[in-house]
Symmetry: C2
Subunit: 397 residues, 2 copies
């Protein structure tokens, strides 16, 4: 285990009645003129955006609206938001939606008080020093952005998807009503469960393996999401299981399951190139890649993968055959992805194999032209990236 | 499950190098004139208090010292601290020690900006509206006060031990170096483990039982502390297991294991009267009472206690005999207390049985003269309190 810090200042307000508190929460955190930021139709059609506007106005708070955030949120929208906030002297941003909307809101929050080009933060040319306060009303549990320090933005012109981490952008509050997730389509529900589990798995598989408490929390979280995902695909209005997934989404990415460990996030980085190139759903992209990544890094880490197999996937331990136990865990996860209707290869994900040129482009981008390696449990260089993409490009039986 | 809010703003800085950051942390949170508050000899003898003073001075921070906090911290000390802070215009309080020191610091923090008598907050006559900021350097993991909203103070003249909860007193930061716990005597180590586990058990046994994620986190935490407590009694300098216990102590009482549930805390309230009357160690008092409380509330809650037995205590499930499985879980916990050298009855705790008058006095105080009930999983009135105290007053075989 390594030394760690843990800082999760977001005030979580969770449950059926949580939305009613939006006005008092925004006021408590100093908001007077609020940008209400949202995505496409569903948050509007469901009446949620209208309800939030009404509640804010009833609390004497002025609002400005900006909708239209797309999955894999775009820099161009961030620039529009920054201009709007400056023009309207906005002092608080309320994101109503999922991770894309929250990340777009965070990026706007960084940009408003910054004199340079906001992309500087993702290009590594500057570090955020200030940000407008952000709060959120979460409708899609998956990205974990409601409690995380992460903000991932896609540069529409350069075709780059990049992340920035800073405590400055952690949401002041997160309102979570599991009922809002009843209408999530099965594919989005399943992809969300994959993403949630992956946020914890990206920390579980790292250079360390001796933090028993973090392991116990991570394994318990993973088992719960696994069970609850199957339950809500069967009954989309299962409140208790929707609630487990929603709360797990926050805990999986608020660093609780990282204490004493460190981020690997190689699978995430590899997937960012997939979703940038093919505009696929992030969680589905993760499912398509994970098994190939896991088999690649397995040698030397059989005991860790065996622990995962037994404690998370319910594989019967064969202590005399840890490599075999480990492999059965990877296979069990792929079977679980299949049960959820998620792909376990690139051809399943995009409907055809990736071309050699596409793989070369993804490796080029992911490795920053061969200059960057990924991962903690094993370092993944450009050559290993190509190996993993090619393995994931094989059709599964 | 019920709606919940979750708010843990304390910045945790954990590990061998954590103490070095005390100056920058106090400065970050606006401290210029700091009350350094501590207990008896060990924090001074070990050099920790001196090191903290040196580091604060090196950061240009002025300090005032107040030592001598005792276990079950006293109102008289709180009053001295308030007077000192006002006289010296202190703007930040740094607690160096365990839960008693932190609670004493929190109580001083409430009192400094309050015009009335500080005991008003514990007497229920006033609610804290403001508090000086508090940070801590934790040396005894048990009370969980470093991340909790709780503050328990004993009125030395009235012989009353009372708690107040408010987000205002949550520590701004908590520095935790597991090495500082190497020298904890076995009895204090064991009592700490009992207290840590009890903070989560007090939430696990409540009116609800359907929050699978909270269950998984709670059960994992309890299993970890159970294993680690045995390990550190065997080898007091086992860093990794000391670290598990220390971090578990925070997570057990920062409300993570309450999400969707609610506090029971009947055993804690019953114990407060024991430690007030006999000045015993809180964790030992909890161990002396828990089995008697558990047997009293068991009827009607066999499935919950059976889940605890299987998922925490490792009892083999007999699904056709949940009451038997449940009872074996309670017995297994008592056997574990025995293994730790902790009492499982009042005679073991104080060296003799409590007298009928003493039991009547504890019931009178605990029930506020018969006007108050305790608990969530079952309501405990004055008659039930007497039953539990009398059951715990029987010598164990």
């Amino acid at each position: 285990m390594k030394d760690f810090s843990f800082y999760t200042p977001t005030r979580v307000v969770f449950g059926r009645a949580s939305e009613e508190q939006v006005g008092s929460l925004v006021s408590w955190y100093g908001g007077h003129r609020v940008l209400v930021h949202y995505g496409g139709g569903s948050a509007v059609r469901s009446g949620l955006v209208g309800k939030m506007l009404d509640l804010l106005h009833a609390s004497g708070i002025a609002t400005v609206e900006l909708g239209g955030v797309v999955p894999n949120p775009l820099l161009s929208m961030v620039r529009r938001g920054i201009a709007l906030c400056r023009e309207q002297q906005v002092d608080f941003i309320l994101a109503v939606g999922g991770g894309s909307v929250i990340d777009s809101a965070k990026a706007i929050a960084y940009g408003v008080p910054y004199d340079g080009d906001v992309w500087d933060f993702w290009a590594g040319k500057a570090v955020p020093q200030r940000a407008l306060p952000v709060g959120c009303v979460l409708t899609i549990p998956a990205a974990g952005s409601e409690m995380s320090s992460s903000c991932v933005i896609t540069h529409d012109e350069l075709g780059l998807k990049r992340g920035v981490n800073s405590d400055l952008c952690r949401c002041r509050f997160a309102i979570m009503n599991p009922e809002r997730t009843f209408t999530l389509p099965p594919y989005q529900t399943a992809a969300g469960a994959v993403d949630i589990m992956m946020h914890t798995m990206e920390r579980y598989f790292c250079r360390y393996d001796d933090m028993a408490l973090t392991d116990a929390l991570a394994e318990g979280l993973l088992r719960t999401v696994k069970d609850s995902a199957v339950a809500v695909l069967r009954n989309p209005q299962d409140y208790v299981n929707r609630a487990q997934i929603m709360w797990a989404g926050s805990l999986a990415h608020n660093d609780l399951t990282e204490c004493g460990y460190e981020k690997d996030f190689a699978t995430h980085r590899l997937e960012h190139e997939l979703s940038t190139l093919y505009d696929v759903t992030h969680g589905a992209g993760l499912a398509a890649l994970w098994g190939s990544w896991a088999r690649h890094v397995l040698p030397g880490h059989e005991s860790r993968f065996a622990q995962f197999a037994v404690n998370v996937m319910g594989v019967t331990a064969r202590y005399g055959d840890l490599p075999g136990t480990a492999l059965r865990g990877i296979e069990a996860m792929e079977a679980f992805y299949c049960q959820l209707g998620m792909p376990t290869s690139i051809p399943e994900l995009i409907g055809r194999p990736a071309t050699p040129d596409e793989i070369a482009l993804m490796v080029e981008r992911c490795s920053r032209g061969g200059t960057m390696q990924l991962g903690s449990i094993e370092r993944i260089d450009a050559s290993a990236m190509a190996t993993i993409y090619r393995a994931a490009n094989q059709p599964r039986p």
